[in-house]
Amino acid sequence: MSNPPRPRLAVWKFASCDGCQLSLLDCEEELLALAEKVEIGYFLEASRKTLPGPYDLSLVEGSITTPEDAERIQEVRRASKKLVTIGACATAGGIQALRNFARIGDFLSAVYASPGYIRTLDRSTPIAAHVPVDFELQGCPIHRFQLLEVISAFLSGRSPAIPHYSVCLECKRAGHPCVLVARGTPCLGPVTHAGCGAICPGYARGCYGCYGPMESPNPPSLSLRWRALGASERDLHRVFRTFNAAAAPFRRESEAHAD
């Protein structure tokens, strides 16, 4: 074989639901092309077989919630030439970052019969809070076409074409009449990162922000509009406190409205 060695890919899981890794397996026909193009060195969701590092490209899913994981992400970074985080957990701390707003001890005693066995951190933090990250792909879950775009870009040494503007651009290009303006349906699209293709407004639903904050969000202005449409302070508190609760613009906005 005279072919050059294929780049070695690794997929790592931290605190997460595995949904973003599944987006990679969902790629189906593209998955065969990917398997030809890269050597899958570490991807426990797909195969028990593992190859040693260094890895040319590491995809990291999940947030850091335990002392062990805080150590392990350092090892992953050391073993990875490029490190890309995928999904709301890895980029913003995920739904489990709700712990950041409460006392972790209260959860432990409520959930576990013997909390003494549990070693956990009092905050869920994104990967970028621990190690340098080469690219962050937002979404809960991420869109598989965007994941393929990021992988293709890294394989060919170009920038990923992943825009960071609002969902509204995708929504308008698709031709959906605005649900907020035409129906009075509260929608987070104007402050939310594009990438989903405006799925919810396409089904006459308001965006609920699963892709996290867009590049220059203005949540306080949108909140005023939500209030005028009938949303309560509690509604606003809660809508900004979901999968991206710890992303700074959403965190600040949830804190500005009482539960």
Binding site: E30, A33, L34, E36, K37, L148, E149, I151, S152, A153, L155, S156, R158, A161, P163, H164, Y165, S166, C168, L169, K172, R173, A174, G175, H176, P177, C178, L180, V181, A182, R183, G184, C187, G189, P190, V191, A204, E215, S216, P217, N218, P220, S221, L222, L224, R225
Partner: protein
């Protein structure tokens, strides 16, 4: 010239005549695009029958607010402009420009086929005709005409509508873009509704329009028909929901880049880009390059872009317009002021879409008024 002579060549058709018009356009190979009700709004999509049109519907519009409402009559065109504009057909929101395929030694460029459709637009208002003329200037007027736009624009058949129903955010009168459509169409309809009578006054604007009119049942228009149509347009002109004082507006905006109002509007502006997406003259685009996983293929896609995104002003090292303040200022100043320097006209036609479809109802007529009102002396000559 169309619009000059009062009744010469004008005709009357009824609802059946309108169906005959749709059929005649279809028989000549046109795909007719017109107004339809979808998802609680009136949008521009394919229409085949009069029954597809938004009969008995109107819209109530204000800043950040649009609601369909029932009319008391059976008007087919009794609404104002909605979230769509005709630009989505001539300048598609997302369009592959070309593909490339790796060959033995290099690569081959695969050109995109020209569009198969020839369109007839039904129900184009005066403000929208002005917007078309502005985009013609932008895409075709320079030394590098846009081929894709030219292919789509060529052979377009336009059935204009003399506007009988302005919305709460309309100000075409201020922009001298309406409500009367005087030229730039093949046929123009005025919908005349009175008890027991539903008819359309037809003006001919081109030989192609004349040919089509000759092919459908019609009768000559009378002086009374013309008087009724004139009264309708006068009524429309008197019912504008907004107004904009355009005196010296070019200088008003260019001379005050540091006005505190820009900061004030930035506190409300979401930088979501909706205003630019719905604007019938905004023409900015970006291109995205994608490669396949195997590295065997590549393609370039053109997408509607907006001066409200950070990447829009990205130069080496970062974005020039980091603050929303500077992005809003760029958009409004370009639209109402520097457009004159660039293209010789205003970029605004007074259709009001940017006001209605702004999720927080920012109103550029209000912003311009606030800046003007704050100045000690009028800046216009």
């Amino acid at each position: 010239m169309p619009g000059q002579a009062p009744t010469a060549g004008e005709a009357i058709i009824d609802r059946e005549g309108l169906q005959a018009l749709l059929d005649a356009l279809s028989a000549r190979g046109f795909s007719v695009i017109g107004p339809r009700v979808r998802d609680e709004a009136i949008v521009y999509e394919a229409v085949r029958e009069v029954a597809d049109l938004p009969e008995g519907w109107t819209d109530r519009q204000d800043g950040g607010h649009y609601r369909l409402e029932r009319r008391k009559d059976r008007a087919l065109f009794g609404y104002a402009v909605g979230p769509h504009s005709w630009k989505r057909f001539l300048f598609p929101p997302q369009q592959r420009l070309w593909r490339a395929q790796r060959t033995g030694a290099g690569f081959a460029i695969l050109e995109e086929a020209p569009p198969l459709d020839r369109w007839a637009f039904l129900g184009v208002r005066a403000c929208e005709l002005r917007a078309l003329a502005i985009q013609d200037r932008v895409f075709l007027g320079g030394s590098h005409p846009d081929r894709s736009y030219a292919e789509r624009r060529r052979g377009l058949f336009i059935v204009a509508l003399q506007c009988g129903e302005p919305s709460g955010t309309c100000f075409c009168v201020s922009m001298e873009a309406g409500p009367k459509a005087a030229s730039g169409f093949d046929l123009a309809l005025t919908e005349l509704l009175s008890p027991g009578s539903h008819r359309f006054l037809v003006e001919v604007g081109s030989p192609a329009g004349e040919e089509i009119l000759g092919a459908i049942p019609h009768r000559p228009a009378g002086a009374a028909d013309r008087r009724e149509a004139d009264a309708l347009l006068a009524s429309t002109a008197s019912r504008m929901g907004r107004s904009l004082d355009t005196r010296g507006i070019r200088e008003l905006l260019q001379d005050h880049p540091e006005h505190p109002r820009w900061q004030e509007v930035a506190a409300r502006c979401l930088a979501c880009a909706n205003c630019t997406m719905v604007c019938p003259t905004c023409f900015c685009s970006t291109v995205e390059d994608h490669t396949t996983l195997t590295g065997e293929g590549a393609e370039r896609t053109r997408l509607w872009d907006s001066c409200f995104t950070l990447d829009f002003s990205y130069l080496h090292g970062g974005s020039v317009r980091k603050e929303i303040r500077s992005r809003y200022r760029q958009w409004m100043t370009h639209k109402l002021s520097t457009w004159f320097d660039q293209f010789g006209s205003s970029g605004c036609v007074g259709c009001g879409r940017c006001i209605t479809w702004c999720p927080v109802g920012i109103d550029l007529t209000e912003e311009a008024r606030a800046i003007r009102a704050s100045l000690p002396e009028p800046t216009h000559a």
